[in-house]
C-alpha cells in the first residue's frame, strides 16, 4: 500500500465577510501519492484555488482555515508556525501560479529571483546557487539559460515566463508541486509545450503534482486521479479513466458533456441549466440539486456524503445509495 505524500482531511476554509461567514472550502478530503498527478477540477467559485492556498497556509484575512488536517510527511501543516511553514514552502512544497506576468517581480533579474529561494533553503553560496539555477533553467527547456539569468521578466514571452516559474518551483526539488491553472493564460501551442514539460518533470524527478484547473482537457492529458469540486465540496473523485468513462455525479456528467469537442461536432451541446451558486448562498440539501435533472425529494432535504460509486470512485450523490437508482446515470451517459 502506497503511503500518501500529502493528505488533506476535513479541510474547512471560511471567509469572514460583512455578509457573514462563507465556507469557501467545506470538509474537503484528498491525498496525493508519491509521483502521482492529482487533478482538482472545478468552475470559478468552486473553492479549488482556496484549497491550494490553504495547503500552503497562504490564506489571508478575511479567510481562515478553521478546521481539518493537512498531513505532510506525518506532520500536520496547520499546526505549524509561520517560521516553520517558510521552511516548507518552496522547499518541500512548490507552487506555480496562473499569471506568469504578475508572479514574477518586474524589477529583479530572473537570476536574482531564482537563486533567492535556493540560497535560503539550501544555504548554498551565490556561485553554487547560480549554477544550480542555470541547470534548472536548462531542465525546463529554456534556451540560452546563462543569458536569461541576467534578463528581466518583461523580456520574456508568456510561455517562457511560465517555464521560469516552473523552474523556480522545481529549484529546491520539492516533493509536491501545486500548479494552480498553470496553462490558462497561455495559447494552445504553448500550453502543449508546458504540459509536456510537466509530464516530463513528473516522470524524471518523481515529484507529485496537484494540478488545479477548470479545463477537462488538461486534466485528461496529465492526471492520474481527479477530484471534481463544486460549491466548496468535492463531489466526485476517482481515477481519470473511470471518471471520464463512467462519471457518477450528475455534475461531472454535465461538465463533460458540455465541452465542445475538437474531434467531433455534436448537434447540440448539453448545458447545465442555471448558474454556479455564489459561495455562501444558503442551501439546504445538495448544493447541485437546483441544477440537477435527477434531483428527488431527499436531495433538497439532506446534503449527501461521498458514497462509493464504483471501485475506487466516490460521488457525493444520493443516487448511489441504491444501485437501481444509480443505473439512471449510466443510461444518460450512453
Amino acid at each position: 500500500m502506497e503511503q500518501p505524500v500529502l493528505k488533506v482531511s476535513g479541510l474547512e476554509t471560511h471567509f469572514f465577510t460583512d455578509d457573514g461567514e462563507i465556507p469557501a472550502v467545506d470538509s474537503v478530503d484528498f491525498y496525493v501519492n508519491k509521483g502521482e498527478v492529482l487533478g482538482i477540477v472545478g468552475e470559478s467559485g468552486s473553492g479549488k484555488s482556496v484549497t491550494s492556498l490553504s495547503i500552503m497556509q497562504l490564506i489571508q484575512a478575511p479567510g481562515k482555515v478553521v478546521g481539518g488536517e493537512i498531513t505532510y510527511k506525518g506532520e500536520n501543516l496547520i499546526a505549524k508556525s509561520e517560521k516553520e511553514m517558510r521552511k516548507i514552502r518552496g522547499n518541500e512544497i512548490g507552487m506555480i501560479f496562473q499569471e506568469p506576468m504578475t508572479s514574477l517581480n518586474p524589477v529583479f533579474r530572473i537570476g536574482n529571483q531564482l537563486i533567492e529561494g535556493i540560497r535560503i533553503h539550501k544555504k548554498w553560496n551565490k556561485k553554487k546557487a547560480w549554477e544550480h539555477a542555470v541547470s534548472i533553467l536548462k531542465l525546463v527547456g529554456l534556451p540560452r539559460a546563462e543569458e536569461l539569468m541576467n534578463e528581466y521578466p518583461h523580456q520574456l514571452s508568456g510561455g517562457m515566463r511560465q517555464r521560469v516559474m516552473i523552474a523556480m518551483a522545481m529549484a529546491c526539488e520539492p516533493e509536491v508541486l501545486i500548479a494552480d491553472e498553470p496553462t490558462t493564460a497561455l495559447d494552445v501551442t504553448i500550453q502543449a509545450q508546458i504540459l509536456e514539460l510537466m509530464k516530463k518533470l513528473n516522470k524524471e524527478t518523481n515529484t507529485s503534482i496537484i494540478m488545479i484547473t477548470h479545463d477537462l482537457g488538461v486534466v485528461a492529458e496529465i492526471c492520474d486521479r481527479i477530484a471534481v469540486m463544486y460549491s466548496g465540496k468535492i463531489v466526485e473523485q476517482g481515477k481519470t479513466q473511470d471518471i471520464f468513462q463512467h462519471p457518477k455525479h450528475p455534475y461531472t456528467i454535465g461538465l463533460i458533456e458540455s465541452v465542445p469537442d475538437v474531434r467531433v461536432r455534436k448537434d447540440r451541446l448539453y448545458s447545465i441549466p442555471g448558474n454556479v451558486p455564489k459561495p455562501g448562498s444558503i442551501h439546504k440539501g445538495c448544493h447541485f440539486a437546483p441544477r440537477c435533472s435527477f434531483a428527488f425529494d431527499k436531495c433538497y432535504e439532506e446534503n449527501p456524503m461521498l458514497l462509493e460509486a464504483g471501485p475506487a470512485q466516490q460521488a457525493r450523490c444520493w443516487l448511489h445509495e441504491d444501485a437501481e437508482k444509480a443505473a439512471v446515470l449510466e443510461r444518460v451517459k450512453s
Binding site: 468552475e43 470559478s44 514571452s157 510561455g159 517562457m160 495559447d187 494552445v188 501551442t189 504553448i190 500550453q191 502543449a192 509545450q193 504540459l195 509536456e196 477548470h214 479545463d215 477537462l216 482537457g217 488538461v218 486534466v219 485528461a220 492529458e221 481519470t240 479513466q241 471520464f244 468513462q245 454535465g254 461538465l255 463533460i256 458540455s258 465541452v259 465542445p260 469537442d261 475538437v262 474531434r263 461536432r265 455534436k266 447540440r268 451541446l269 448539453y270 448545458s271 447545465i272 441549466p273 448558474n275 454556479v276
Partner: protein
Amino acid sequence: MQEALLEVKQLKKHFPIQGGVLKQQVGTVKAVDGVTFTLHKGETFGLVGESGCGKSTTGRMLMRLLEPSEGEVLFDGKEMTTLNKKDLRHLRKDIQMVFQDPFASLNPRHTVEKIIEEPLIVHQLGNKAERKKRVRELLEIVGLSAYHAKRYPHQFSGGQRQRIGIARALAVNPKLIIADEPVSALDVSIQAQVLNLLEDLQKELGLTYLFIAHDLGVVRHISDRVGVMYLGRIVEMADSEKLYLDSKHPYTQALLSAVPVPDPDYGKDRIILTGDVPSPSNPPSGCPFHTRCPKAMDVCSSVVPEFREIEPGHHTACHLYEEDLV
C-alpha cells in the same frame, strides 16, 4: 450559389511604432496583413488563432472601430471603408458586436433597460413605449425575464451579462453579428448555454455570425466555415468539417493536435511546436510560419506563399501545395 453578405479583400492594419523624442515612426506592427474572406448570408464564419494573430483587429475593422490601413470591405455590395460618419452610423444598424468581457462591456451605472434601449435611441427606432416593449421582448428572447429590466449589471452573473450583451446587439435587428470571444470568459457549463442560445437565435432570426475565438472546440461546434489566422494572415480556410478532419496547413495541424482532449484514452501523435509566435513588428521573411514549421523547405524562408484554393472551397497559403514547387 450562396449570397455574399460581407466581402473582405486584402484588408490590412499597420500600426506605427513611434520612438525617440520627435516621435518619429521607427517601425510598423503589421497586425493584420492582407486578409481576404467572404461571409455568406445565414452562415457562421469562425476566425481562430492564438493571441496576437490579428483576429480581433480584423473584427474591429469590419465595424470600423479601427480604420483599416488598406483593403476593401463590401457589406451587401456597398463599400464600407470610405463611408462618412453619418452613413456609417446607418450601416452599423446592420452590423452589431458582442464583446468578450461581460464585465467591462456593460455600463455599471445603467440599468439593463437603458443598456438595451440605447441602440434603439441611437437609431431612432420606435417611441418610448415601443422601445420599452422591445427591451422586454429582447430579454425574453435571450432567456432572461422582463423583470430583469430594472436591475443593474452587477446583479447578474457572467453568463447572464453575456445574454444582456447579446440582447443589446439584437435590439436593432442586425443582419450580421461580430462576436469577439463571446464565451471565453465564461465557465464551461455556462459557455454551453450561451453557445446554444447563439445557435437558436441564428435559426430563428436568420443571422450571420462572424465568430472570433481562440478555442478550437468552440469554433468547430458553432462554425460552418473556419479561417485560421497566424501573424496577421489567414493561412487556411475551409468548411468546418473539412478543416478539422483534413487540415492542410502545418500550422493548423499543429494547432489542432495541441488541443487537450477531454478523453484520457485518446491516443494521438502530438505535433509540439517549438518556440513562440514571432513579433508582428518584425515578422519572418517568406512564409511567416517557417520559423516554427516542422515541414519547412528552403523556399519557405524567402517566398511568401500565395493564399490559393487547393480543393473546391479549401484555401491555404503553403508552399507544400504548390505543384510546381513540390
